[in-house]
Structures are given as structure tokens and as C-alpha cells.
Amino acid sequence: MKVKLGMITLILPVFLGACADMSVLEEVPAWERGSLARPEMAWEPDPMHAALRQHIYFSKEASSGAASAGGGGCGCN
């Protein structure tokens, strides 16, 4: 129970802050997008490790589904 409350206490305020950020969209010209183009801002800064993690969680948990069309296929018992 403590772990669940800890998770919620830690993560929920961050997600609520993100929601507030999304409430106003701004027109951002290309020359102001330098921060967005930084490597650490990529959806997956390390695609090799992201692929491995996705494979492990797909094998060890009941859920699956990511925004990609390829991959898959393992016995995973």
C-alpha cells in the first residue's frame, strides 16, 4: 500500500503539471525549435535499448502495444 501511495504521490503531480503545459498551444517557428531537436528530447533517445526493454516487458507482462508496425514473435516462456 505504501508503494502504491508513493507512486501516485510522486507521479501524479508531474502528469498534472504536464497537462497544464498542454492547455495552450503556441506557434513555434523553426528557428526556435533547437531545444526540441536535442537528442535527449527524442521519443526514444536510445532505440536499441528501448527495443530490448519493449521485448522484455512484452515477454514478462500481459500487456503489449506501441506505436510501431514491425517486430514481434517469440516463444517467451
Partner: protein, 385 residues
């Protein structure tokens, strides 16, 4: 020479475009300018099953070493090619079922001898770039001692509003065959097939100069043999329809010289599984060439409709005591360090995964004794030429 406003903007834009990585996300879609080759080695180690949780069989769980190879390069002005190859060697024992102990508590029935297997997975993806988007086609083949799978997919992206908005979509198909290793004294199928079809649509939006968001909906249909042939009493439906809603948010924190990543996934399927996955990463730059990333992931799932905490022999109908279909929650703590130069990148990372019935959002009456804890350690490098 006096610069006009237009020429100043052009100069600033050109400078911004010269930043590493910017061409991939902000400028017109184009193949990478250089070839990129990478190698990672990862060691995945599950904790041994506790003595008190095992009725019979080995207490060792899976130990997997994974070699990953990746090559990405331009083919010409409009095309790129991506090839990945994974080689895994695995050993350990696997739960065959769950029985009731003398005190009424569940106990694992583990396979006796250690299982040895290797897995090879080759994927190739070709991408065509357009001024306002890209389109890809991929083909993959995966093989184990008892398992073969072929997959193919097509996907694409289209940019709008000066590339502030991106829509994406794709479909994938996989055909799998399992030929279980036979063992005297057990009845296992000799060969079974499964087909899977996946489709997704998504959209990404630049919110402001420091934050972006992406959301997508994925639908997956499985049809065929979906049971686990190595479990004693495992009969699952022969189809499965699942939905996953993924949302990812990235924010640059200029004051901290760091990037915040937030990910959320809602998953639901017609087996009765409902899950939530929350992910948080903090990519902290220590200087121009060193970054550390602490991460936290929380996962919780409900049980499948046909999940049983104990195996019941001699009854008709669907049942499975697989811990992966049981109700539980899991937490992953991670730490990664990435050092980089003009044409290279080194990575060292470690993750620790804990799963427990008490971590689940809903109540768990009988926790499955097969829940795992594991450690994942990775070293890797990439080189651009």
C-alpha cells in the same frame, strides 16, 4: 552588409538546423547524413525462486545474455535502410504450474532440468523520405529452437502546420509457428500456428518551444494457438483482441539543462486484462559529453478472466495459472549514463524490476508465487562514419 529581417531569420534557421539531431525532427524529412553502427550487450537475470514458493523442480529462473547489432545508413537522397540483429542465449527453469501447499498457499511446480535455448531476430526496414513525411516498409524473421516467426509492416508519417503537427499510422502482420520440445510423460502439441495483425494511428504536436506530445492508439488481433504448451493445464482462448492507448510527453528544462520524459499507456483486451503503465525519465546533462538518466516505471494489471490461482486437473474449459495473467503490479528503477563525442556514443545502464501482488491497484486475494524480480545490465556503443 546590413541584414534584412528575412536573411537574419534564414541565418538563424540554418544555425538551428545544424544542431545535432535537428534534421531528423524539425527540417524536411531526409535520410541520415552518416552511417551509424551500434552494438549492445545486455545481461538479464531473474532472481531465484524462494525455497518456500516451490513445490518441485529447479529454483533457478531465466538468465539471458543478449547481443544487439544495429546499422542505419542513407541509401541515396531519398532512402535509408535500417537493419537490426539480436542474438540471445538463455538458460534457466520455467514454471509449469501452481499447486496448493499443505497450508493452502500456492506453490510453483517448476521444470526440472535447466532449459537451454537461443533466439535470433533479424529485422530490416527501408524508409522513403518526402518533403512533408516519410513511409517505411519492414520485414523480420525470428527463430528459436522451438519457435519461428515472420513479420512485416508498413507505416508512415505526414507533417502539417509547418511541421508542428505530425500524423502517423501503420499496419503489421506476424505469422508464428511453435513446435514444442517433447518430453516423455507429458502430452504436448507437435506444431501450432498463430497469426497477429496490428494497426496503429497516432498524432504528435509541438506545444511550445520546449515541449511536445504524442498520442497513439494501437489495435492488435491474435488468432490461433495462444496457450503455453509447457504448462501442465494451460488452455487459453484461440483469439485475442487488445487496445493500447499510448501518450508520450517530452519537456526541455533549460534551467536544469535536462529533459523530462513522461509516458503513459492504457491497455485493455477481451481476455479481461486492464493495465496502466506510467514511465518517467530525467535526462540530465552533466556537460556537453556526459548525460545521466534516472528512470522510474510503474505497471499494474488486472487478471485474465480465465486465470486460476491453482491448476485444476480434469476439467473442461479455459484456465491458466501463468503469473503473467495474474493480478499484480511492478516497479522498475533504472539509471543510465551516456558519454558521447562527435562520432561515437557509449552507454552503461542498470535496471531493477520488482513485481508484487501488493503493488497492484486493485486488491489481490492470492498472489501468484511465480512473479519475478529481475536485473538488467547493459553496455553499448554506437559509431558514426
Amino acid at each position: 552588409m546590413k541584414q534584412t529581417k528575412s536573411s537574419r531569420l534564414q541565418a538563424l534557421t540554418a544555425a538551428a538546423m545544424a544542431l545535432p539531431g535537428i534534421s531528423a525532427q524539425v527540417q524536411a524529412d531526409a535520410p541520415p547524413e552518416r552511417n551509424e553502427i551500434g552494438y549492445h550487450y545486455s545481461q538479464y537475470q531473474e532472481d531465484r525462486a524462494p525455497e518456500s514458493a516451490v513445490a518441485t523442480g529447479s529454483k533457478s529462473r531465466y538468465d539471458i545474455g543478449t547481443h544487439q547489432f544495429r546499422w542505419l545508413g542513407p541509401v541515396n537522397e531519398d532512402y535509408s535502410l535500417l537493419a537490426t540483429f539480436d542474438y540471445e542465449g538463455m538458460s534457466g527453469a520455467s514454471p509449469m504450474g501452481v499447486t496448493k501447499g499443505a497450508d493452502g498457499k500456492p506453490l510453483l511446480v517448476m521444470s526440472g532440468a535447466s532449459i537451454e535455448d537461443t533466439r535470433m531476430d533479424l529485422n530490416v526496414k527501408a524508409t522513403r523520405y518526402f518533403p512533408e513525411g516519410n513511409a517505411s516498409a519492414s520485414l523480420g524473421y525470428s527463430t528459436e529452437d522451438d519457435y519461428n516467426a515472420v513479420n512485416l509492416g508498413v507505416e508512415g508519417e505526414k507533417h502539417f502546420n509547418n511541421k508542428s503537427t505530425t500524423l502517423s499510422g501503420g499496419v503489421g502482420f506476424s505469422s508464428d509457428t511453435i513446435e514444442p520440445t517433447q518430453q516423455s510423460g507429458t502430452v504436448r502439441p507437435t506444431s501450432e500456428d498463430k497469426t497477429s495483425v496490428t494497426g496503429f494511428i497516432g498524432g504528435a504536436q509541438v506545444i511550445n518551444a520546449v515541449s511536445v506530445i504524442q498520442t497513439s492508439l494501437t489495435v492488435t488481433m491474435h488468432d490461433g494457438y495462444l496457450s503455453d504448451p509447457y504448462r501442465s493445464n494451460d488452455v487459453r482462448p484461440d483469439s485475442r483482441l487488445g487496445f493500447a492507448w499510448n501518450t508520450r510527453y517530452r519537456r526541455w528544462m533549460a534551467d536544469s539543462n535536462a529533459a523530462l520524459h513522461l509516458d503513459y499507456r492504457l491497455y485493455s483486451d477481451d481476455w479481461g486484462i486492464l493495465s496502466h503503465t506510467l514511465g518517467m525519465e530525467w535526462h540530465q546533462n552533466l556537460d556537453d559529453s556526459l548525460r545521466i538518466t534516472p528512470s522510474l516505471r510503474y505497471y499494474t494489471q488486472s487478471q485474465a478472466d480465465f486465470y486460476v490461482p491453482f491448476d485444476v486437473s480434469g476439467i473442461a474449459g479455459e484456465q491458466s495459472s501463468d503469473y503473467r495473467l495474474s493480478p499484480y503490479g511492478a516497479i522498475t528503477l533504472g539509471l543510465a549514463a551516456v558519454a558521447s563525442g562527435p562520432n561515437w556514443r557509449l552507454r552503461v545502464s542498470g535496471e531493477r524490476y520488482y513485481s508484487d501482488g501488493d503493488f497492484a491497484l486493485g486488491g489481490v486475494d492470492v498472489e501468484n508465487p511465480g512473479l519475478i524480480n529481475f536485473t538488467l545490465l547493459t553496455v553499448g556503443m554506437e559509431y558514426l562514419y
